[in-house]
């Protein structure tokens, strides 16, 4: 009945066809609805569409790309600047939270982790609208800042780059906290003892042991914040003004409002190309293989 089953060190079976039977449904779905759409987006980016209601026709129209760059260079630059600022801000806020939960959480660790996730059970748009209320001109925060003189009488919080960056930071914060927590939680407690024996000062132990070992989490978290932040248009729409439009806003507007599909497709392609280059350089610098 039971044939002898060969397994390798991880307990995996050598097989030729069975794994593919399991993989095929998912792979087909991804190829049909992720990889093929990328191809059709690329085709669209080289198509021409002379008027709003014309049917786009493929024609190696590389001019779409030069037009995308020359017209929307500012939005590209702004998107990546805002996303970088939001990533750094999220790192600064998330690290202490993850650190305290991992090392001081004790038996309340899971409860504290739950607390980090709970705010994100409300919808993304509703949270951003709530920030609009908090930062708004009739809110209490602006009054306080006016009273203590941090803001001049005519200065506002809402509809500024700071508000947009703040919104981006907030909305993607759990994606920073969770990976950092995971990498801190994995640290062998004996290493911490060794650190205490070797370095009399806690700060040196922190710098030499904890920070290097948490880098994979920082790496994963930064990408998980940077990528969605760079492509977002909701925060800029609710919390910003006409001068804070990001590349996502332009793609959305060109696609869904102006129906200028070729330009929107070219913009999307340039955007994804820049993101890939940033990710590649970044993974070289920090040198971690495991993203997921």
């Amino acid at each position: 009945m039971s044939a002898k089953i060969e397994r390798d060190a991880q307990g995996r079976k050598q097989a030729r066809y069975t794994p593919w039977l399991l993989l095929v449904p998912g792979l087909l779905w991804l190829i049909w609805f992720f990889y093929l759409p990328l191809y059709s987006l690329f085709r669209m980016s080289l198509s021409t569409k002379p008027s709003r209601f014309a049917v786009p026709e493929f024609g190696w129209a590389w001019s779409n790309y030069s037009q995308a760059f020359s017209q929307y260079g500012a939005q590209f630059q702004r998107s990546f600047t805002y996303a970088l600022a939001a990533t750094i801000a999220a790192l600064l806020i998330a690290y202490p939270i993850a650190y305290v939960i991992a090392f001081r959480g004790g038996r309340y660790r899971n409860v504290l982790l739950g607390l980090v996730v709970v705010p994100f059970f409300t919808n993304f748009l509703i949270r951003t609208l709530a920030w609009k209320t908090i930062l708004g001109n009739q809110g209490p925060l602006i009054n306080l800042l006016h009273t203590i003189g941090v803001l001049g009488p005519n200065e506002t919080l809402l509809r500024t780059p700071i508000a947009v960056i703040g919104g981006l930071t907030y909305n993607f914060l759990p994606f920073m906290v969770l990976p950092i927590y995971v990498s801190l939680e994995k640290i062998d407690p004996r290493l911490l003892d060794a650190a205490r024996d070797l370095y009399s000062h806690t700060w040196r132990g922190f710098r030499k042991i904890i920070i290097p070992l948490s880098l994979p989490g920082v790496f994963a978290g930064s990408l998980l914040v940077f990528i969605p932040a760079a492509g977002d248009f909701v925060n800029s729409y609710y919390l910003g003004n006409a001068k804070t439009t990001m590349i996502g806003s332009v793609v959305q507007d060109q696609f869904l409002v102006q129906n200028n599909y070729p330009i929107a497709a070219a913009l999307s392609f340039v955007f994804i190309a820049i993101v890939m280059v940033v990710v590649a350089i970044y993974s070289r610098l920090l040198g971690t293989e495991e993203i997921a």
Partner: protein, 293 residues
């Protein structure tokens, strides 16, 4: 064994317990930062819950006017919003079910077997997660708008089906990677044991493998459901003019009005989610207790 683990845990909790004044100050500062961070996380939530009790002036529920129970007495007053929420639930249930099944298959295929091409499959699986949502939405829309010869010109009309297709697409990778992470370290020789005891492969899967990997699958399904119901950007691209999910409805409506029912329904969703989370934590805590006893 368990005593050693317990001892290690105790020591870990003590890390950073230093007596020097500088160390104490550092410890205080980092605790303060973490508490501030949690407060920052909850600030908008307090606002959302508080404004569900607000009597708005005009059409926008953005400025505090006065306390009222009216919104909670009529939580379903905005019919279009309720319809949108029901549609979101339908989309989330269907896409979670499909994505969980095919994603789990992929995870099992990847973890259980060694075969040529595994690295490539892995790459194909991770790439969608690194693509910005706006690109996912835009590329799917071009596919749906301009069917290619490659697919025998199958055409799609934007609506319920295209939303579900899109959601399954971005959920599959999440499910496959979450379940795969949980399957690593799974003792596959248990299957051999079952078969040695006379169970056929089908029975082995249903009676041995599935019960053991169920917690991982359940976690992936919950994550998928949450991601699906919250998704705005991709859905906004592929939903078309007449099909409106909860987030799309809020975005479309927010230009002209924000009824307080948005806050009431959000608070309800929040309460339900917290309850599910609390029950899950309690059950797993009890299980750990039972297992270690």
């Amino acid at each position: 064994m368990s005593a050693v683990v317990g001892g290690a845990k105790k020591q870990r909790e003590q890390y950073g317990t230093v007596t020097s004044p500088a160390g104490k100050l550092g410890r205080f500062i980092i605790n303060l930062f973490a508490a501030g961070g949690l407060l920052y996380l909850f600030l908008p939530i307090f606002v959302i819950v508080a404004f569900s009790f607000n009597q708005p002036v005009g059409r926008f529920n953005a400025v505090w006017n006065r306390f009222t129970f009216d919104n909670w007495l009529h939580p379903f007053a905005d019919q279009a919003l309720v319809d949108a929420l029901l549609l979101s639930l339908k989309v989330a249930l269907l896409s979670t079910a499909v994505a969980t099944v095919i994603g789990t298959f992929m995870a099992i295929g990847l973890v259980r077997y060694r075969f040529k091409g595994g690295g490539l499959v892995n790459f194909l699986l991770v790439l969608p997660l690194t693509a910005p949502e706006i690109v996912l939405g835009a590329s799917l829309l071009t596919l749906f708008l301009a069917p290619t010869m490659l697919l025998f010109n199958i055409s799609f009309s934007l609506g319920f089906a295209t939303i579900v297709i899109a959601h399954i697409m971005f959920l599959v990778s999440y499910v496959a990677l979450t379940v795969r992470a949980r399957l690593r370290g799974f003792d596959w020789t248990l299957e051999d044991a079952a078969m040695d005891l006379g169970a056929n492969p089908t029975r082995t899967f249903w009676r041995v493998t599935l019960p053991l990997i169920t917690p991982g699958i359940l976690a992936a399904a919950l994550l998928s459901f949450a991601l699906s119901i919250d998704d705005f950007i991709i859905t906004y691209f592929v939903s078309g003019p007449s099909t409106t999910t909860f987030p799309v409805r809020i975005f479309g409506q927010s230009r002209t009005a924000t009824p307080p029912q948005i806050n009431v329904l959000s608070t309800m969703i929040l309460l339900v989610s917290i309850s599910i989370l609390a029950i899950g934590t309690l059950v797993s805590a009890r299980r750990t207790k039972r297992d270690s006893a």
